[in-house]
């Protein structure tokens, strides 16, 4: 009995599979086939969308056959540069990331399952542009930029500007995201990423909160708060950040900042949670995260 006869199993729609050998080739194919083509990296988002018939590209351009898109480089001066095809497992495990950017490890670790993380890529997580993408709030809070290459073009934009809407990113026809650039955080900086549901594998975020604090003794020198899954795109809660920058740490302030973060959220109600619940949980997670990363005076 063929798989297609069984009512519950999902098959992929038909497509032509093209192995790009160079970045130029991939960009060229994308420019040629336009909206009839999609690139595939890890495939853990793309193939699911295709199995559900939400998209059905005629041409699938494999990026995994292009060498040198999978790397992690660090220098004290330039910070971290991550190739877009780097898997989430590599990000979880590499010591340099655990030492200098533990917020990224926390986020990568909460995505999918070990099986998914072995093939899923950081570039794919960003380009899929789900509002709930777990790597997005930490990277936005870290001030990440993304390098985008086209046929004869190259540009770098702030990651915050990369997300245009649910499932929509800033890539133009023929462009591919190639690298994520993260500046070195200043000394005395701590950050964390909290996600609901907590400790539940596979589930996408109902709420995601990334908090990064630079503290000098009792003074908050800098604060970054980024939210996921509570707006059409991941976003920074700038009013909340401004409330805490330059201030001395205390309980009342944490409550006010968490409330301001909740007000920055514009969540929808869906099968996973109501908008009210999401707003409330932004407040709870922001408060929890602040208490985790702030050293009390």
């Amino acid at each position: 009995m063929a798989i297609a006869d069984l009512g519950y199993l999902l098959t992929l729609p038909r497509f032509d599979h093209l192995e790009a050998k160079t970045l130029e080739e991939a960009c060229s194919l994308l420019s040629q086939y336009k909206e009839k083509a999609r690139v595939i990296a890890g495939g853990t988002d793309l193939l699911v969308l295709m199995k559900r018939r939400e998209i059905s590209p005629q041409y699938m351009i494999n990026l995994k056959t292009i060498p040198n898109l999978d790397y992690i480089r660090y220098t004290d001066r330039e910070g971290l540069r991550i190739g877009a095809l780097t898997t989430l497992h590599e990000i979880e495990c590499l010591p340099i990331i655990g030492e200098r950017f533990p917020i990224l490890v926390a986020a990568a670790h909460q995505i999918g399952s070990p099986h998914i993380r072995n093939v899923a890529t950081i570039g794919g997580n960003l380009c899929n542009a789900a509002p709930s993408a777990d790597t997005a709030p930490p990277l936005i809070a870290l001030g990440a930029r993304v390098e985008i290459k086209g046929l004869n073009t190259e540009r770098t934009i702030s990651l915050e500007d990369f997300f245009l809407g649910p499932g929509e990113n800033a890539l133009r026809t023929g462009e591919i995201l190639t690298e994520i650039q993260i500046p070195n955080p200043p000394p005395n900086t701590q950050g964390t990423y909290l996600k609901l549901p907590a400790r539940t594998v596979i589930d996408i975020a109902v709420v995601g909160v990334a908090v990064i604090i630079t503290q000098h003794f009792k003074d908050i020198v800098d604060a970054r708060i980024a939210l996921g899954a509570v707006a059409p795109t991941p976003l920074r809660a700038r009013k909340a950040e401004d409330m805490i920058k330059g201030k001395v740490v205390e309980q009342q302030l944490i409550e006010e900042v968490s409330q301001a973060a909740a007000e920055a959220a514009e969540p929808i109600s869906d099968i996973r949670a109501s908008a009210d619940y999401r707003k409330e949980m932004v407040k709870v997670l922001t408060s929890r995260a602040l208490k985790q990363v702030i050293t009390p005076g």
Binding site: P13, T44, S113
Partner: protein, 154 residues
Amino acid sequence: MKQVIQLRVNGELYEVRVQPWKTLVEVIREDIGLTGTKEACSTGECGACTVLLDGKPVNSCLVLAVEAEDKEIMTVEGMAQGGKLHPLQEAFVRHGAIQCGFCTPGMLLSAKALLDENPRPTEAEIAETISGNLCRCTGYVKITEAILAVAQGE
């Protein structure tokens, strides 16, 4: 539309003619005929389709067969050697870690990958390792016990 590819499964080379839209689990089961690997959710959420790709557990329902050329693939059929069950398989039987058996191949392979890299994992590391493998029957307790038993050298 079909192309000929070579897949190295459990140390043996299989030549198959597949369309690009065929997933690895479909080709393993239907073209190669190894039905130990199961397909349940088709979307990478349950782990029933787990195979080892170059030693790493992956959901074979989300791997295109054409992408799996030049890789070492291990399915559950590759765990027993020379007619003898793998210690994990023996432990699963001994500890009552199998009820309907549908999750078992995936569980075994995920556990094997763990022990190959980390021969003495903690219970927490075991739980993390099988976190992508769902079981509707056992409640995971016996499965974890069985893996821990092998880890502790039983």
